[in-house]
Symmetry: C2
Amino acid sequence: MSSNSSYGAAPRADWPNVRQQLRAHGLRWTPQRRTLIEVLARTDGHVTGAGLIERCRAVDPATIPSTVYRTLDVLEGLGLLSHSHGADGREEFHVQPLAAHGHLHCDSCGTTWEIMADEAAAVVDSMQRSRGFAVDLSHLSVAGRCAGCSPELAG
Amino acid sequence: MSSNSSYGAAPRADWPNVRQQLRAHGLRWTPQRRTLIEVLARTDGHVTGAGLIERCRAVDPATIPSTVYRTLDVLEGLGLLSHSHGADGREEFHVQPLAAHGHLHCDSCGTTWEIMADEAAAVVDSMQRSRGFAVDLSHLSVAGRCAGCSPELAG
DNA sequence: ACCCATATTGCAACAAGTTGCAAGTGCAAT
DNA sequence: ATTGCACTTGCAACTTGTTGCAATATGGGT
């Protein structure tokens, strides 16, 4: 058995206290949730639902998909993570980093970039002004063609 | 130019000539495609893939899902329609109207609005300038909370 | 330590798509 | 009308999620 001492704890979401947060909401701490949280704590950035299930199975082969998806919902409710839909519509979870952000996805090369708040200000402000609509930046996913793949440069 | 009040039975896609367009691309005209196109010609606005299949079955009960999805891909390739992903990630097809546009979806009340080019100019221009990224407006789907559902007004 | 209310789990069925492949068919040339 | 190529179809298996329900387990109270 490998002693899982400090694994280089990252200052991301407050994983060590998830248990308290769950309890504070009348929710429970279960082995299955512990597994998923262990995986999430090691996760850096984006993951798809399927990817998460795969990693959970590495920890506990008995992992059931529906349980993972449901726990993911709960954790999103607690604000520990958010999800959006990639260009193919598949779910993409994002471990809550220091700031909410959207994504830019190139249909041609498949690369994905993050759009931080200042860059997205254009949309956010515009929708807020013209419609009073509050854009959910963490769920924003913009598709198109990146500079490197643009027709002009590609020839 | 913000006077697009007449948005009714406009000269939508050129359905009568789809056959010619297919042929011009070395593609074929089949009964199954004819069925789907017949349905699309009657369709006004947005539809989900499942919804389209359902309508096709009303015309031809023998309709097979994969065939519909594949034909949809072909038609999208011809530029006759486009698709994006709703807030739940499900596919949403859009019969090509007079202009490409994105969508605004309220997570609270579920209403969806169309964002026309001028409104989306903020994002499009911003991404083009800062990253040389060409946003695909027809695939853009922005989620958030509308004015009517905003906490301030609702409380 | 025991109880109990109810949050969760596991399972199976279902829904929306996607994909590989062999059989079928449109259509342009002959 | 016939032929042939390659575009299409139908089918089945698979992927990603979602949902209803009965069985189980968590955690506060005693």
